[in-house]
């Protein structure tokens, strides 16, 4: 019983991280039809930046903020410089982001080397919490990650459903040209969405670096899992990303606990089942 709960909590933690990464990916895709395949590299960069800032200033919060801003601005820069001229061609855009991720990953390897880093959480988030069931003591930091993901998810939902800006984004997802025709500056909206989406990857990296290690290859791992999450959940839907992240997180952790050799196959099987039933993903709309 205790083991099942622990694995379940692990699954939720991982799901929380996957959601943070994948929500950025799906937000950008929903608005601009841009598949940012550099998203995994953005995650790793966020982690590294947070690590460096914390290392030199000893401030955890500052590290988080700087990581969020840096990666967000990098995303905007990439979009404005490289992608704007070709944004009508979704395939070419996706390929250009692959090139960006190659260069980013290689340069991060130069800067940080092949060793694994991990970010020390602040004093208040260290240690364990007795969750009161079956004598399980669970790391406080992982519970924080879980709470943060829920908070970000709620904030995103409120932002999308209750604000004027969110309304514009939702309208843009439905019909971009019509929104532009009503006099809204779609360019500015695009830049903001790209900032928020990329910043989410940076935040996820900074937070994830406290629970798991940061090393070359982490970028690919998170890119892969966020792709699976959005394929399962449906591209462009933030709610889909939440459901997809939950499914992928739980399936991968339970498979890791009980069928370790089959863990990656189980995740793949989940994706196949969903695609076989709904090619557009659980919450996606037909293409």
């Amino acid at each position: 019983m205790g083991q099942v709960i622990t694995i379940g909590l692990n699954g939720l933690t991982v799901a929380a991280l996957y959601f943070l990464v994948a929500s950025g990916l799906t937000l950008i895709f929903g608005m601009m039809r841009v598949v940012n395949l550099a998203h995994g590299a953005f995650y790793l960069l966020g982690g590294y930046v947070a690590f460096s800032v914390m290392d030199s200033t000893d401030s955890w919060g500052l590290g988080l903020a700087v990581a969020l801003l840096t990666v967000g601005l990098l995303g905007v820069l990439m979009h404005q410089v490289l992608l704007r001229a070709i944004e009508q061609e979704d395939m070419r855009v996706a390929l250009v982001t692959i090139g960006v991720s190659l260069v980013l990953a290689d340069q991060m390897l130069v800067q940080y080397g092949g060793v694994a880093y991990s970010i020390a959480p602040p004093e208040a988030l260290r240690g364990g919490v007795d969750i009161g069931v079956a004598d399980i003591v669970y790391p406080r930091y992982r519970i924080f990650v879980l709470v943060l993901a829920v908070a970000v998810g709620l904030a995103l939902w409120l932002f999308m459903s209750r604000t004027r800006f969110g309304m514009i984004i939702r309208a843009g997802v439905d019909d971009r040209d019509m929104v532009a025709a009503t006099g809204i500056n779609v360019r500015a909206v695009f830049a903001v969405v790209f900032f928020v989406g990329s910043a989410l990857a940076g935040l996820a990296g900074a937070v994830g670096g406290g629970a798991f290690s940061l090393a070359p290859g982490t970028d690919v791992e998170y890119l892969l899992y966020s792709l699976i999450v959005v394929i399962v959940g449906g591209m462009g839907s933030v709610a889909g990303a939440a459901i997809g992240a939950l499914l992928v997180g739980l399936v991968s952790q339970f498979a890791l606990g009980y069928l370790p050799a089959m863990a990656s196959v189980m995740t793949f099987a989940l994706m196949i089942v969903v695609l076989a039933v709904r090619p557009q993903g659980l919450m996606g709309r037909p293409a």
């Binding site: 061609e89 395939m91 090139g99 394929i231 370790p260 196959v265």
Partner: protein
């Protein structure tokens, strides 16, 4: 085509064949030029050929071709080193197995289109990577399977680099001819119809889904041939040979060479291999992967048709540059700020045409 032009074409083809055959005997430093550049370009070109063929004739851009490459490579390695199966059986069986895996992946993958297909095939290749890493009891995990003996036939050994080169060259030629022939068959023509208008082909009674699955299977067969060849090239196979970077390498080769031309596969492979070897040996002072990434982005943004289309592209750039120059001069002479509208119209039409011609599959 006039007779003169046809003759020029035949002459060029003969010259290329002579150059390819003479290549190992005339180059200096054969270990570098024949092995590191020549043979590597050939097997890399065959994988890229499978990607380009699929993209060119069905409109599906796949990042998963290394999956089938790996199944064939690991298949031969496992059967021959761990179970003592002779190559005459293990090679065809492994290639057949990889083709079957291709068909199974195809059954799922072709249900999606465009960037969804790209993401799904990318996920497939990465899961293959994690799978061979985790199934250590068969694949020996990180270490991989080494000590692969090169096959011998007709008294020739593929350990000889010239023999290996000509085997690779013959395979590349055979596979290219097969890929080209497939596009001329009724099946290939139906595929192109489906690429251009799936609804119309469906209305005509074609089974669009099965045609796509068959095309995907055929492409995975080509990639599998390369996998078996590359296993003997390296003498070993490790999960590192199919990580994300390698899958992306195949894509870069295709885009660099020209994703709209089957010949682009081998030209791109030669280009990338040469580039990476020079960077590795320090002739170019940039890290290998960074350089690859920068070149890739530059080709995507500015040289849409790759190396194959380079003459056309340059001509187009020259034309638009001289147009800009003429406009600049006329503006100076007239002292007017507004541009003549006629030039504008023809200009934008030309630009749109150029873009349409070089569209990636959607």
């Amino acid at each position: 085509m006039t007779w003169a032009r046809a003759n020029v074409r035949i002459l060029v083809a003969i010259l290329i064949v002579i150059a390819l055959v003479a290549f190992p005997f005339v180059v200096p430093r054969p270990q570098f030029w024949v092995v590191s550049v020549g043979i590597r370009s050939l097997w890399l070109g065959i994988v890229a050929l499978s990607l380009i063929w699929l993209s060119r004739y069905t409109g599906m851009l796949s990042l998963g071709q290394m999956t089938f490459w790996a199944v064939a490579g690991y298949g031969v390695a496992i059967m021959s080193t761990q179970n003592g199966v002779p190559y005459s059986i293990s090679i065809p069986v492994a290639i057949a197995l990889a083709t079957v895996v291709g068909a199974l992946v195809g059954l799922i993958a072709v249900r999606t289109q465009g960037v969804y297909f790209l993401m799904l095939t990318l996920a497939t290749s990465q899961l293959a990577f994690y799978l061979v890493l985790n199934a250590a009891s068969v694949t020996r995990g990180y270490v991989g399977i080494g000590n692969i003996d090169r096959p011998e036939f007709l008294g020739l050994s593929m350990s000889d680099r010239n023999v290996f080169y000509f085997v690779a060259l013959a395979l590349a030629a055979a596979v290219s001819a097969l890929a080209w022939y497939a596009t001329r068959t009724p099946f290939g023509l139906a595929l192109q119809g489906i690429r251009d208008s799936p609804e119309r082909m469906r209305a005509l009674g074609y089974n669009v889904y099965l045609h796509r699955v068959a095309a995907f299977t055929f492409a995975s067969f080509i990639a599998a041939v390369s996998g078996a060849l590359a296993l003997f090239y390296h003498g070993r196979i490790t999960p590192g040979a199919i990580d994300l970077i390698r899958s992306i390498d195949v894509l870069i080769v295709s885009v660099l060479g020209g994703i709209h031309s089957l010949a682009g596969a081998f030209i791109g492979a030669l280009g990338l291999t040469t580039l990476q070897n020079f960077a590795q040996e320090g002739y170019i002072q940039v890290r290998r992967i960074t350089l690859t990434g920068v070149v890739f982005v530059a080709v995507l943004l500015f040289f849409r048709g790759g190396i194959v289309d380079l003459p056309n592209q340059l001509r187009e750039y020259r034309r638009s540059a001289s147009r800009q120059w003429a406009r600049f001069r006329s503006r100076k002479h007239d002292g007017r700020t507004d541009r003549p509208s006629g030039a504008d119209v023809s200009d934008s039409a030309g630009g749109a045409d150029g873009r349409d011609r070089q569209q990636l599959p959607r």
